[in-house]
């Protein structure tokens, strides 16, 4: 023992300082290790754990520090889409003109519309009707979308504010709010609305898509669907699906405030007032006071005759006024 006791006494100052240094470095390492340990332990305390609900509806507990906020794009942001859908496009008053003299029943508008809005084959946002108004009058084809009335009866009867009129004139439906009461179908004098009685066609493919109020996709069983004037396309400065799909130049679309409408086929832009004045433009059932935003030009000077095979269907309209 005495030898051992003597040894430290023999240590020089250099040795002493050397040891101090070693101890110092060691304690720094040890300290930081302890600190890291405490930090790690802190993470594991139950207070920092949060509950999350997975897409599969499973409630999980997870450490808060392990979570990252999911960044969503505009197309995935339901709240933003709903807000934009209600606000519309400022300063616009959309208007459509249907020139009946050019319609040859190509039905391209209908297929383009059904593809865009994922509709079943029997559902129509736009429908080309075979019309005959009187016994001695000529039958004609008439494309009929939603009239986007300025005094919409369908909106007035909705009990849940699911269907609404936008400042730019478009009448839209928010399927997130729709309860499927079908009051609006009963109120619409133009039969413009359809109901999703059956499972929508692309339900599986659309399963994970965020609902876009301006496109009404994904369609949902038990809710209403109808023509939207392709509000999503208008936002991009493009014309509605039906308008640009027409091969016969039937449709004009534009902004009433600009007094200009553009033909979907020829892309020619003309003045709205002049077009309606020169061709005796009219609206459907004006006596109801619904103030439609869709104008029609009469079926005069037609380039193609009414097809023989469609005549019987057109004559069905005459049954009501037999005398």
């Amino acid at each position: 023992m005495s030898e051992k006791e003597e040894k430290p006494k023999k240590k020089s100052r250099r040795d002493f300082l050397q040891n101090i240094g070693l101890v110092g470095v060691g304690s720094v390492f040890a300290g930081s290790a302890i600190l890291a340990g405490i930090k790690y332990d802190k993470k594991k305390t139950p207070g920092a754990r949060i509950k999350v609900l997975t897409a599969e509806n499973e409630l999980l507990e997870i450490d808060k520090n392990d979570t990252t906020k999911v960044k969503i794009t505009k197309a995935e942001d339901l709240t933003l889409l709903q807000k934009e859908g209600r606000e519309g496009i400022a300063g616009k008053r959309w208007v459509m003109v249907v020139d009946l003299s050019k319609c040859k029943n190509a039905r391209k508008c209908m297929s383009a519309c059904q593809n865009a809005h994922h509709l079943r084959p029997e559902q129509h946002h736009i429908n080309v009707l075979k019309m005959q108004e009187g016994k001695n009058t000529a039958p004609f084809y008439m494309a009929k979308p939603c009239q986007h009335c300025d005094n919409p009866p369908c909106v007035a009867v909705c009990p849940v504010d699911a269907t609404f009129k936008r400042p730019d004139g478009i009448v839209l439906i928010d399927n997130e709010r729709c309860i499927g009461c079908r009051f609006c179908i009963a109120a619409c004098p133009y039969s413009a609305r359809v109901f999703n009685w059956a499972t929508p066609v692309l339900e599986e493919e659309d399963k994970n898509k965020t609902y876009n109020v301006e496109l009404n996709v994904p369609q949902r069983k038990g809710t209403i669907s109808k023509c939207l004037f392709s509000a999503d396309m208008l936002r991009e400065g493009k014309m509605p699906y039906c308008v640009s799909a027409c091969p016969n130049g039937v449709y004009y679309f534009g902004d009433e405030n600009e007094d200009a409408v553009t033909n979907g086929t020829t892309k020619e832009t003309v003045r709205l007032k002049k077009l309606l004045e020169e061709n005796a433009g009219y609206r459907l059932m004006p006596e109801l006071g619904t103030e439609p935003r869709v104008y029609y030009l009469p079926p005069k000077n037609r380039t193609a005759p009414f097809q023989e095979k469609d005549k019987s269907e057109a004559e069905e309209h005459l049954d009501n006024n037999k005398d």
Binding site: K108, V155, P167, D259, T262, T266
Partner: protein
Amino acid sequence: MFRKHHFIKISLTFLITTLFYLHSFAQNWDIPDDKKTKNANFKFTNQTISEGEAIYTKNCMSCHGNLGKDNSLKTLNPIPPDLASVKTQERTDGELFFIITTGRMLMPSFKVILSEEERWKLTSYIRSLNKKYVQIVSETNTSKSNLIKIKMDFDSLTNKLKVDVKANETSGVVSLKDAEVMLFVLRYFGKLQIDKTVRTNNEGIATFNFPKDLPGDKTGNVDLVVKVSDEIYGEVETQSKFKAGIPTDKPSLTEKRAIWNVLKKAPIWIIITYTSIVLIVGAVLLYIIYSLMKLRKLGNN
């Protein structure tokens, strides 16, 4: 008997020949020779092809279908051909350009809707599936169009717009005589042509009558586009803002109080009736409770 048959045969043959002639006549494009040999003054590249494709999708696809898929709209008369077909590809670039420019029968003219450059880009897309195609690039001087200077001047008193077209040649400033000038107003979906297409006079000036009732923005400004096309200098387009329209600031369509509008914009009579019904019913209920309490007090006494 024989003669009668013969007569029918002859007349039938005559009829068929006439019809066939008329049919083939309908299929023919009357293209002037000098237009047939016209060529684009830039090389067709992947860039021009993809730009041409966008123009094709917007303007041509509804009738001609997808290029090379032979799915054009067969119900039309005459049937619009698939533009990748041999018959179309045998045409020269100038012929295709002429057809796009002028149109005929069901085919609309794209002279006003597409610029010359866009029409050539469209041609480049139509050529894109043809592996044998070799482009001939026009040797005309393309830089000539850079020399053109267009000056617009709007007179609000007479509502006339004067367009002055000059070219800064090295020899001095030259007025462009007899150049074709078109005036447009930009609208949301396209360009609205104002007045007719006019040609410049000897001083290089073209005058347009501007309509007095054309809506502009809130302050009456409209975006005007002038397109000048000249045989030598090519096509040039300029855009500028003028206070030529009527100031337009129409209220939104949901501004008015109406039964279909949101709660805040409900008609006054609905608000008054509804509130008074609620108040009256509430008051009646309170009165009943008050009376019952009074009755109880009376009973206790």
